[in-house]
Subunit: 157 residues, 2 copies
């Protein structure tokens, strides 16, 4: 039929996997093209097709692509690392933020110590070190809201 | 019976939710205590009880607590943010790492520029700036392996 979408002829990856007819209004079709079968296999394995369908219906149409992509990312991470999934990456990134913040603080302290000990204070020097301190403070404030609180947070590689 | 676990008398949060008898060998009981009902409700809503059970059986017993905690974290994040889930936190943390790295590079450059322009090079100054550069390089190398590749990565708040 002329009114049918292209999905009628070539079922989306979800319908192909679930062995069902892919209808023109299929909720999966726009986000699970037949050429990416693994994307659906992964989200189905981790979340289940029914949960993915429910979630897609809960979010606005323009947000669905982002929702599917983030689910696919989480699913792939969980398949690769069944224990930590993508939470492992959060843990590593949090430690990296803390490490960088510490390095930045140390470098700023070096700069301040150096300028105080080696040279009389000038306008240029004060501007440089103040800029560094301001950067540091804003980064600490940002990082605190995303901290993953867990007993294993510091031990996970 | 004396041999029964305490779970026989007080069903775990999973068995209570699923309205089934909590047996002494219940796979959920050690990780879903009755006093934390929301933990199971969340993972059930996002992953489904069957998928959680499968995953628990796939990992080693000593890894199960971490696996459940990371699933609970992911589930809570997805309920709070149905579009991005905990991938939103990864995106923010990645940008924070890049921002901190840039700040560290800039501070190191300030330090080097300052020491070159204002003072003759001394052993102390070289040591300080080199330490900063080494820190910076190692951090860049670490961050690259966790980058979340997505078209919306830079736009997500």
């Amino acid at each position: 039929m002329a009114s049918s979408s292209s999905y009628s002829n070539c079922p989306c990856a979800a319908c192909k996997f679930l062995r069902r007819k892919c209808m023109p209004d299929c909720v999966f079709a726009p986000y699970f093209p037949p050429e990416e079968p693994q994307k659906f296999t992964n989200v189905h394995k981790i979340f289940g097709a029914s949960n993915v369908s429910k979630l897609l219906n809960e979010v606005l149409p323009h947000q669905r692509e982002d929702a599917v992509n983030s689910l696919a990312y989480e699913a792939e991470a969980r398949i690769k690392d069944p224990v930590y999934g993508c939470v492992g990456a959060i843990s590593v990134l949090q430690r990296q933020v803390m490490k960088l913040q510490k390095e930045l603080d140390a470098t700023n302290a070096d700069l301040i110590r150096y300028t105080c000990n080696e040279m009389p204070t000038t306008t240029t020097i004060i501007t440089t070190s103040q800029r560094g301190s301001e950067r540091g403070t804003s980064s600490i404030a940002q990082s605190s809201s995303f901290y993953y609180h867990s007993t294993w947070n510091n031990d996970h590689p």
